[in-house]
Symmetry: C2
Subunit: 328 residues, 2 copies
């Protein structure tokens, strides 16, 4: 250790850079001075040979998608503030890619990994857990054992969406889903269908090819070319909703909300833009992020549910003008 060339023992300089250490003011001064001169910086990676690495891995796909970007933004900020260092693993969302990423995670001795998309295989999660790693799954309700789960109350939102559409006087209610059938998307769909069925309503189901703006646009083009198109639709994602609105308006001259009511989900920034003013459900990203870091920070978590730990957050309805407020 080069810095000790400036007077003292290596222990002394180590102590200088450790918080709860006893070191004289004078020694510390000398050490700091020498370190400064030599451009010395503690090697945190070597530190981790003895203790925790403080590394948190974020496994994520579709980083450009507004919700994802927002989630990653929140998470990286908060993790940083909590003194963690965040490694972003940008993958496809298929199991193989996610597994690969999770394996890397083990190599870096991450204290924890947060999976934002895709689902790793049970086996791999087990070894991660066995290696003392925390695994937290966001928005994927597939009940892997030992993981911490955080998810959204999709059921309530779906029911509310139906309610809003009916109250707006929509006669032919529809739902726009994505061919990418991720757990949360599927749940929104099923709950909506369920609620409709309870109300004795039939629902026009439309499936977009992917979960993107373009796919929403394409879906609109298809659905409004048919006879008996819907006049009120719940889109499982804002991106889908925005594309759908644009398709309905630009291709068919439909007016929103007069001819067509649209509800989205996520409350991405674009949903608030003047051209859309989409009524939607907001993901409480801030709360979710806070919860995740508290999960990773509170080392002792004694009073927890034994097997499967799940936190459910409430999406909040954001009322804008893509739905008629009063019976039409």
């Amino acid at each position: 250790m080069v810095a000790e060339r400036a007077g003292v023992s290596r222990s002394a300089v180590s102590r200088t850079f450790t918080d709860g250490a006893s070191v004289s003011h004078e020694t510390r001064r000398k050490v700091i001075e020498a370190a400064e001169a030599l451009g010395y910086h503690v090697n945190h990676l070597a530190r981790q040979l003895r203790e925790r690495s403080n590394i948190v891995c974020l496994i994520v796909s579709d980083l450009t998608t507004p919700v994802r970007a927002a989630m990653v933004d929140r998470l990286t900020r908060k993790l940083q503030a909590a003194g963690k260092i965040t490694v972003v693993l940008n993958t496809e969302s298929d199991e193989a890619s996610v597994n690969h990423a999770l394996k890397l995670t083990l190599h870096y001795r991450a204290d924890a990994t947060v999976v934002l998309s895709g689902t790793p295989s049970t086996g791999l999660v087990k070894t991660a857990l066995a290696n003392g790693q925390q695994v937290v799954l966001i928005n994927r309700d597939d009940g892997l054992e030992g993981c911490e789960n955080v998810s959204l109350d999709n059921a309530t939102a779906a029911r509310e969406a139906l309610f809003l559409l009916r109250r707006a006087g929509c006669l032919r209610v529809g739902i726009l889903v994505s061919a990418a059938r991720t757990p949360s998307l599927v749940e929104r769909e099923q709950r909506f269908l369920e609620a409709a069925s309870n109300a004795g309503l039939s629902v026009i189901s439309v499936e977009a090819e992917t979960t993107t703006y373009r796919a929403g646009l394409g879906a609109a083009k298809r659905v409004f070319a048919r006879s008996e198109p819907p006049d009120g639709v719940f889109c499982v994602t804002d991106l889908l909703a925005l594309g759908f609105m644009d398709g309905a308006r630009s291709e068919f001259g439909l007016r929103v909300p007069d001819d067509l009511c649209v509800i989205g989900f996520d409350n991405i920034e674009q949903a608030s833009w003047e051209a859309y003013r989409l009524t939607t459900f907001e993901q409480p990203l801030e709360k979710i992020a806070n919860h995740v870091v508290s999960l990773l920070t509170d080392v002792e978590a004694p009073a927890q549910t034994p097997d499967r730990d799940e936190a459910v957050f409430e999406p909040v309805a954001v009322w804008r003008r893509s739905v008629r407020p009063h019976p039409g």
Copy 2:
């Protein structure tokens, strides 16, 4: 090392997981088997005690912004593909935050740091360089010594923007800039002004409070309330342009491109949305990302410009319909 409990020496297992190592087929088999059984994974962090860490830090702010998200997406993917691990440092863009982030970078023994926003202080960059770290600055032309720079040819784009506006028959040309005067934004402004001045044109300058959609919207509200508003404006950013368009349309009933021509910069996904169809300049993100990883990958870079290394990329004009194609 636990894995060696299964027959051989620690050297053997080390060799098993190193590529160019001589180890018998039999030994390797035993080792792999044992490792599998014990859930063993090489600790890459310990590895770095002897060699390079393979860690690349990305210093970035405003991660939710579409261009940024896109850039980070590209970069993380490509770095990963090149076997690097990417630590994202999400900061504010003021110098203090960036400096703090850069310091962290030293602690993690990053091989390289890529700065996407904000500018670190010269001194800090020097020590990073001195510690054998590569520093690459994206889109900030402030000529720090020893850094690799990659930037955009803003001048050409600005000139072309003016040309397009004039060709569309705009009589009162304007530019929408941001109060956040980052180097590339300023350059776009100055080049545009310069080109206009060369053409003997006066330009209506409008300054938005930040570089966001909302700020663009606000700017439109202000500028069209005045007498003699512009009928063709170059916005230094797509986000600004989109907000500006919405403001002009929703508040003043202006039609784009009939009453107002708008040009943006970045070609974010939203610029292509039906509600906007913005004519803009695309940042060649793919090329930039490729260049960055090649910079970090080609360990030997002998034939380089001595002091300041700069790569300049050409934005490409994307023609859509927010500008009239023919003299109006």
